[in-house]
């Protein structure tokens, strides 16, 4: 009757199981790539990155499953395939980013030099570009004016949007509670987030045209200034600043506000001296991200600030160029038609590199700010 003695051995399972060596997935991956490249070469008669990549991905998944299933068992095989798929998708997601950076750096880097950074398009003629293409002269022209325009317009946009955005967020978090005005603002901010940038540009232009008409009738063109562009960018930037700041302010623990109130500190002072210092790093990095987001805008600048060929330091009068509009203009209307259009294209790539570098620097800056200003908890 005593069956226990029979069942006991079968119940005791081993905790160890067969395992492939750590390097196996890498070996399989490299082998798949080599095989895929070989097939691509034999089948097409030439090497194709696309075919190799697709084939290598499929081969890798199959091989991982087969080898692992044969040696380690089904559960581990499925696990390994899932890991492989997830990592391949990650690599896939990085491809556009890396190839974009690579293209910008290689094309822009080849053309970029100090001359381009310090000259404008003043006095540019088609003949100069033709000489360059013929190898008789260096690359003429430059985009100093576009860098200045980008910096001025973005700064002006910041001066408008940061106070408005941060104060609106403070209102939403600290004062509005669940009242109607708060809800209305939240709704409007949501709507503003989705406004197409060209519409923001048209809005700013229409606004300033109307004002210009009233002040000096028959002066239609005067509304196209750097400041109008800054207002257009602010329309895009304010909702981002509000959203980011709001999120950060909501992270400040209620405890801290209560501690301050309990000391008899008034509300406004609690906000200025306790809540804002605690969240300043987050707010600043949110602002920096908003700047990075609008600095590359093209459409709203085109309709509000036009295309300037030369340096203009005055935000309130005359057309201005920014790096994105400069790039757009160079590609669409090269200085010299025909073969020599390549010179305009090279300048455009150099400007694109500068723009990408600016955005990257801003993003890095956001991280540094967040690190440096974050409340310290160390001993």
């Amino acid at each position: 009757m005593l069956t226990t003695s029979d069942t006991t051995p079968s119940r005791s399972r081993s905790l160890t199981s067969k395992q492939l060596p750590k390097a196996t997935p890498w070996v399989i991956a490299v082998a798949s790539i080599i095989v895929a490249a070989g097939i691509s070469f034999l089948g097409l008669g030439r090497f194709s990155i696309t075919v190799t990549a697709v084939l290598a991905g499929a081969l890798n998944a199959i091989a991982v499953f087969a080898i692992s299933a044969a040696y380690e068992g089904r559960r581990k095989a499925v696990d390994r395939v899932a890991t492989t798929v997830v990592s391949s998708t990650f690599v896939l997601a990085c491809v556009p980013l890396i190839s974009l950076l690579w293209l910008t750096v290689s094309k822009g880097g080849a053309a970029l030099d100090l001359n381009l950074l310090s000259r404008t398009m003043l006095g540019m003629k088609g003949i100069l570009d033709q000489q360059y293409v013929a190898g008789e002269a260096g690359l003429a022209g430059g985009f100093y004016h576009a860098i200045v325009g980008t910096v001025l317009i973005t700064l002006a946009a910041c001066v408008i949007s940061i106070p408005v955005g941060v104060l609106a967020a403070i209102y939403l978090v600290e004062y509005a509670g669940k009242n109607k005005l708060g809800k209305a603002i939240t709704f409007l901010v949501d709507v503003m987030t989705g406004i197409p940038s060209i519409v923001a540009g048209l809005f700013a232009f229409a606004l300033f045209s109307t004002i210009a008409e009233l002040v000096m009738p028959a002066a239609a063109g005067v509304a196209k200034t750097g400041f109008t562009a800054a207002v257009a960018l602010s329309v895009l930037m304010i909702p981002i600043v509000v959203r980011n700041t709001e999120e950060i302010l909501r992270l400040v623990p209620m405890d801290l506000r209560e501690a301050s109130y309990a000391l008899g500190v008034p509300k406004w002072k609690t906000i200025v001296k306790i809540v804002l210092p605690t969240s300043v790093s987050g707010i600043l990095s949110g602002v920096t991200i908003a700047i990075a987001r609008v600095i590359g805008e093209t459409a709203p600048i085109m309709v509000t600030a036009g295309f300037a060929k030369t340096l203009n330091w005055n935000l309130f009068s005359g057309w201005m160029s920014t790096l994105p509009t400069y790039i757009y203009d160079s590609q669409l209307r090269p200085v010299s038609p025909g073969d020599a259009a390549i010179a305009s294209s090279e300048r455009a790539w150099a400007a694109a590199l500068v723009l990408v570098a600016l955005v990257m620097i801003l993003n890095l800056l956001a991280r540094v700010i967040a690190k440096v200003l974050a409340p310290k908890a160390g001993r």
Binding site: A259, S260, L263, G264, T270, I274, P375
Partner: protein, 259 residues
């Protein structure tokens, strides 16, 4: 430097929900009063009405009177900010300001209330408050380091130092020891005994021994069931509450036959 508090027919609401009903109590100056009772019976709620802190919660409201040396803190024209300068508070979770050093934390109340302090005055006040909170010896060498770098018990005592640095008349404490080890708890209990000489102290605690050790008077709150308002069941000398309470409900709670 200490005030008497008279609570008269106090009803407290969160929106439409009545959390506390009909509290009557007289808290003598220079005494320690403990609030005990099961969770959710409204101890924190009552405590927070004593310095109008519950107004911070949207929708919260109060009916009744809280007289501080005879003047109603809910009377017309009373500024809650002024009330809170007289009635300090220490919270269950230590909450030093993370952007400030230990010293700045202690001085925060005074500085944020626009009082200018000379360096000597500031040093003096820091030392007095930290000594008052039994923390001076542990932190005197690192006054300029962040307050959040202290241990939990030290942080709680830092919060007490911060509260007494503004020299309030009354000090409210909501479960100040609930996150602390027995040694830090003892340090804070000793501190409460010292504070009694200068301040009126009201403390919420779940620890009956603590209530028995530190308080002169004890208030027992109870709640009939979820959704019902909490009520003050018995308010008496601590010795009476813990040896021979008048109400059976109190007796049951004290002896652990309930809640």
């Amino acid at each position: 430097m200490s005030k008497q508090i008279d609570i008269k027919d106090l009803n407290i609401y969160y929106g439409d929900f009545q959390a506390v009903e009909g509290v009557e109590m007289q808290i003598k100056p220079r005494s320690v009063t403990a609030f005990i009772g099961p969770s959710g019976c409204g101890k924190s709620t009552v405590l927070r009405t004593l310095n109008r802190m519950h107004e911070v919660i949207p929708g919260a409201s109060v009916r009744g009177e809280v007289l501080m040396d005879g003047s109603d803190i809910y009377g017309a024209g009373v500024d809650p900010v002024n009330v809170r300068r007289e009635v300090g508070m220490v919270f269950q979770r230590a909450n030093p300001f993370p952007t400030m050093s230990i010293k700045e934390n202690v001085l925060a109340g005074v500085r944020l209330n626009n009082k200018r302090l000379s360096k000597a005055e500031a040093d003096d006040l820091t030392e007095r408050a930290l000594r008052g909170a039994n923390l001076w010896n542990e932190v005197k060498d690192r006054l300029n380091l962040p307050g959040s770098g202290l241990s939990g018990g030290q942080q709680q005592r830092l919060c007490i130092a911060r509260a007494i640095a503004v020299e309030p008349e009354v000090l409210l404490m909501d479960e100040p020891c609930s996150a602390l080890d027995p040694i830090s708890t003892l340090a804070i209990e000793d501190l409460i005994n010292d504070l009694k000489d200068k301040y009126t102290v009201v403390i919420v605690t779940h620890n009956m021994q603590q209530a028995a050790r530190v308080s002169d008077k004890t208030a027992f709150f109870n709640i009939a069931g979820t959704g019902k308002p909490g009520k003050l069941i018995e308010f008496n000398d601590t010795s009476v509450i813990f040896s021979n309470p008048e109400k059976e409900e109190t007796e049951n709670y004290i002896s652990g036959r309930f809640g």
